[in-house]
Symmetry: C2
Subunit: 285 residues, 2 copies
């Protein structure tokens, strides 16, 4: 029980997928930086992702890819693959780790914050976790400063299409789960316009892996479209000020409620990678 | 058991003290605003506190006093007096509420964020809580952007003097408690240069109330001195940028670890009053 899990062929495929999706997303976002014609870019050059590798003391590590550009004020795409042994109090909470606390986990996590208050911030995360059981989980949601019905409809429609290939009721279930999860209880308000959230998809690796890939493909297709729709539109100081306030809600959610954030920090994850999701500038006026 | 606690004479005295301390602190901070001669005030007028009363649905309420000035970028002094019945999961965690979940609580809470990176932000909070038991708790700490040994020494010396009137070992114990409490585990760093933290002082109301007043008097005396030492000193853009980053640590602590914040939000407190502590502008670059 003291030997960590070896990375089996299924785990290797999941990890390779997360890494290749990361590469394609980074390329799509860099192309957006090139395409920007907004006078609000104020002479900033097109952004490029910078990658930083980190090691996890207990096993594994990851690569942070972060870009500070002229469309994306700060966007992070983190891939990590970690393994080791859960501390007893976590082992009790994790399916399949109650008796054998070893784990292996790999995933991609993306959060985008943009200069323009017209371009909605977005989040996407998918992961594969192995204990004595193994499953996929993830989600994606859109967090506009001022919701745009056309963006909301496009985003949900593309996720719905990804879900349709998985199960007839998947979109309804995973959308409802997102509405429940991405909610800020102390404000009594959703953190954005939703998306999907799912977890503990276990049993048929090929089927759940295909769904996880479909979610990644959906995000990669629809989010750049949404960014390009609005990125060259001017904004006012008032709109920017409102954006900074709305970003505060995102911080409140992430630090108070987000399971991944709390789990990562409490299990000794890399705080810089975990908190890469926080917005570059935030106001609580 | 369904009737809430009446406010007894001791509770009324504690509440009146918190309110009078609030009035004196607000006056001292407004005098600082008047005294400011910094060219960095950029024509801003001296700040004045604005007060907003709020009601708590379950019983009681409070008054937020907030000032956005030219020395104090944002400072909140909140007094609240609330009562009611703890939900079962909280009652189990609160001394004296296990069998009878009724409570009464009053306190003052102050957080100051300043324009100048040279003036240290500060926090002070004291409270009196009554269940079937009753006790005082509180604390104060200094959170400089760049620690100044003279400020740190003054702040601790004045709190030490307040503790000396209470018990010979009080300062050592309460300083150690602050060092333990005001610590950011995921960063592996203290959130500031410490102060004191104490809780569950019960048994001799007069003695603990006198100590709580001494802590308030100490803060009222020493913190304005520290603000005035630095408030007219110029700063650079780099120093301001570093200040915004350091404020992020304060947000991380408050939302991830602060007991009062989590307790307040989870028991249906007023989020605007509870989160008044968050800095006006913060960067995670």
């Amino acid at each position: 029980m003291s030997e960590p899990y070896p990375e089996g062929p299924e785990q290797a495929r999941a990890r390779a997928w997360f890494e290749s999706l990361r590469d394609r997303i980074c390329a799509a976002f860099e192309a957006i930086e090139e395409a920007c014609r907004s006078p609000f870019a104020q002479g900033r050059p097109p952004g490029r992702f910078e990658r930083t590798a980190w090691q996890r003391p207990g096993g594994g590590g990851g690569v942070m890819a972060i870009m500070r550009g002229r469309v994306f004020e700060k966007v992070g795409v983190n891939v990590s693959t970690v393994w080791g042994t859960f501390e007893p109090r976590f082992a009790a909470q994790i399916p399949g780790a109650e008796a054998d606390p070893r784990f292996w986990a790999s995933g991609i996590s993306l959060v985008a914050h943009l200069w323009s208050p017209h371009v909605p911030p977005a989040h996407m995360n998918t992961r594969h976790i192995r204990t004595t059981r193994s499953w996929f989980g993830g989600g994606a949601d859109l967090n506009p400063i001022v919701p745009d019905p056309e963006d909301t409809a496009r985003f949900h429609a593309r996720l719905e299409a990804a879900c349709a290939s998985y199960a007839p009721d998947a979109y309804a279930r995973f959308k409802a789960w997102a509405d429940e999860y991405f909610f800020i209880p102390h404000r009594g308000e959703p953190r954005g316009v939703g998306g999907i959230f799912y977890d503990y998809l276990e049993g048929d690796f090929e089927r759940h892996f295909a769904f996880t890939r479909a979610v990644g493909e959906a995000f990669l297709e629809v989010y750049p479209q949404i960014v390009r729709r609005h990125m060259d539109r001017p904004w006012t100081e008032q709109e920017r000020a409102h954006q900074l306030v709305r970003r505060g809600r995102y911080v409140e959610f992430n630090l108070l409620y987000d399971r991944g954030t709390r789990f990562g920090l409490e299990t000794g994850g890399n705080p810089d990678a975990i908190l890469m999701s926080l917005p570059p500038l935030v106001a609580w006026p």
